[in-house]
Amino acid sequence: MDKTVNHKAWFLVLPVLVLVAFSAVIPLMTVVNYAFQDTFGNNVFFWNGLGWFEDLLHSERMWNALGRQLAFSAIIIAIEIPLGIFVALNMPKRGVWASLVLVLMSLPLLIPWNVVGTIWQIFGRVDIGLLGYTLDAVGIDYNYTQNPIHAWVTVIVMDVWHWTSLVALLAYAGLQSIPDAYYQAAKIDQASRWKVFRYIELPKMAGVLMIAVLLRFMDSFMIYTEPFVVTGGGPGNATTFLSIDLVKMALGQFDLGPAAAFSLMYFLVILLISWVFYTVMTNLDKRGG
């Protein structure tokens, strides 16, 4: 096929190029620039090579934050996925109740993240929060601002409250796509409830569950707003996850060099893990095809 040559077309692309350059490419390149340079002020920079990256790899603070981050993501996925499936299995399949439950389930997803944080920050306070006050009243010495374990539990419960609906809705969509004939055949084959789940429901949900895991992983791996509002990363550094640590470093201490190196590595980690997920998912599909 002959190509039409029309260089004027480039002018039509120009606005979007400018937009992307200003909103993404130039800031990103600035970050890359900072990652390899150092300064003593007055806008004088000198080349630092891989210095910041080496510092970072030897920084206990970064490794601790990464460890906390991975632990947090692992815990919430381990809770939200099974819980979401359980909820989806028990949701009504059709009728008025189905619509009502769907609306109720989507409510937490519609709340802005900082509001979620504020809700739980107040909810958990021992003086005025319903949860904190009640726990205190029944004799549990609950205080998420002092006790690291309480802080962790609060942040995790908050995330579970906020995001289990998403997993449940995805799993529910997977379940709804199973024709009735499968359940009827299972009855005829005298399959137990567990076997129906294991051999009919779970395989049919596998695709959406992979997406749910991926979404929850990426989202929780960059979690910032909610723990920042509730605990501010504390007590101590107990709930300082990667993004909180990064913001502290970049904006609190204004260590732009190390923070830039940090961002790049953060980005690479997410890219790596997403790539692993992608590969696993496409392999699953291939086995399926």
């Binding site: 004939a181 009827q184 009855k187 005829i188 084959d189 137990s192 395989p203 095809g289």
Partner: protein
């Protein structure tokens, strides 16, 4: 295997049915004989799937009883009835191998593994899938999957009946023929009671010993393919079976003569005292074109379907189909149609009337 008896059975999906129009399945008494192959034939929404689901126990009828060999199973759950069902869309357990699929119903019933292995081998040979036992069921073709679900039904030796709910809908045409032949052979070799739901008359007529034709929630005729063709008990049977279906013409009956639009035609017997909406029915196969005798017709078009020709004609404003043998010459002066008197049926209010 068992004889299945339907006793005064009816079903309505409404909680409080008022009249006959509320019933998806109208009152029905019928014995499904042990070891026979039945086809349940009817258009969509005629109640055939409802009937099948009642037999398999997925649905509890609003009235009446269903008995297996005289034992009342009306309220027994599906698993207790020992029936097997093959669904419209292939139902296989995707993540299992073909072998595990076939073994599934036996393992669920706690049969010893040696027995399971032996039965699976037998069934695999029967459905011709020995060479792919260790493959995952996922990714097999639709007809292979249907064979697996058929095999899963037959793997239990004590199965009372095999039910098929339009099992060939998603199968390629050339595989349909093979599967149907295989089913017929399995029935011949093992003698299961088989009930086969379909809206395809070819499938019904080639598969079954007896065809049960349903219309509007009612069984209108139960008979051999031959009976359905020669003596349709209801105008629906005449219209539904045959390609094209039976010609129906409004008529007045006078003894051995029927007065139809355009003239009279002879009947094989004498009828008297008929009331209601009277029609005569004659199959296109039993009408021939003629030059000088019979009723005046206008030929609208001729379709050559290979082994014969279908003539679409008009008789005083009524459609009339005629099937002419391939070797018969048709000329433009053939403007009359003759009915074979022995093959003309008389209907009063859609039901066939016997000659006095």
């Amino acid at each position: 295997m068992a004889k299945i008896t339907l006793d005064n059975l009816a079903h309505s999906y409404l909680p409080d049915p008022k009249g006959p129009q509320d019933y998806a399945l109208k009152e029905l008494d019928h014995d499904w004989e042990d070891g026979a192959a039945y086809a349940l034939l009817g258009s969509s929404g005629c109640g055939k799937s409802t009937l099948l689901n009642i037999i398999s126990g997925l649905l509890i009828p609003s009235q009446g009883r269903i008995l297996f060999d005289g034992v009342d199973v009306t309220r027994a759950p599906t698993a207790e009835r020992n029936i097997a069902q093959v669904f419209q869309f292939p139902v296989v357990y995707d993540t299992m191998t073909v072998r595990d699929n076939l073994a599934f119903p036996l393992r669920n019933r706690g049969r010893p593994e040696s027995y399971v292995a032996e039965r699976v081998a037998e069934i695999a040979a029967m459905i011709g899938m020995e060479h792919m036992l260790d493959r995952k069921a996922r990714g097999l073709t639709a007809d292979a999957k249907q064979k697996i679900s058929l095999g899963r039904g037959m793997v239990r030796k004590d199965v009372n009946a095999l039910l098929f709910d339009e099992p060939l809908t998603v199968i390629d045409p050339h595989m349909k023929w093979e599967l149907r032949t295989q089913l017929k052979k399995l029935h011949h070799d093992f003698g299961h009671t088989m009930i086969y739901v379909t809206h395809d008359q070819t499938e019904a007529l080639t598969f079954a010993d007896k065809v049960v034709v349903m219309y509007d929630g009612r069984v209108v005729q139960i008979g051999t393919p031959e009976e359905l063709f020669d003596r349709p008990e209801h105008t629906f049977v005449g219209y539904f079976i045959g390609s094209p279906g039976m010609n129906l013409l409004p008529a007045k009956i006078d003894g051995r003569q029927a007065l139809v639009p355009g003239g009279t035609t002879a009947l094989s017997g004498s009828y008297s005292g008929l009331t209601g909406n009277i029609q005569i029915g004659v199959r296109p196969e039993h009408v021939r074109l003629s030059r000088d005798e019979g009723l005046p017709v206008t030929i609208r078009r001729i379709e050559d379907v290979g082994r014969h020709r279908i003539i679409r004609a008009d008789l005083m404003g009524h459609d009339l189909n005629i099937i002419a043998p391939e070797d018969q010459a048709i000329s433009s002066d053939m403007t009359r149609a003759v009915f074979d008197p022995a093959r003309v049926n008389v209907y009063a209010d859609d039901w066939r009337v016997k000659a006095a």
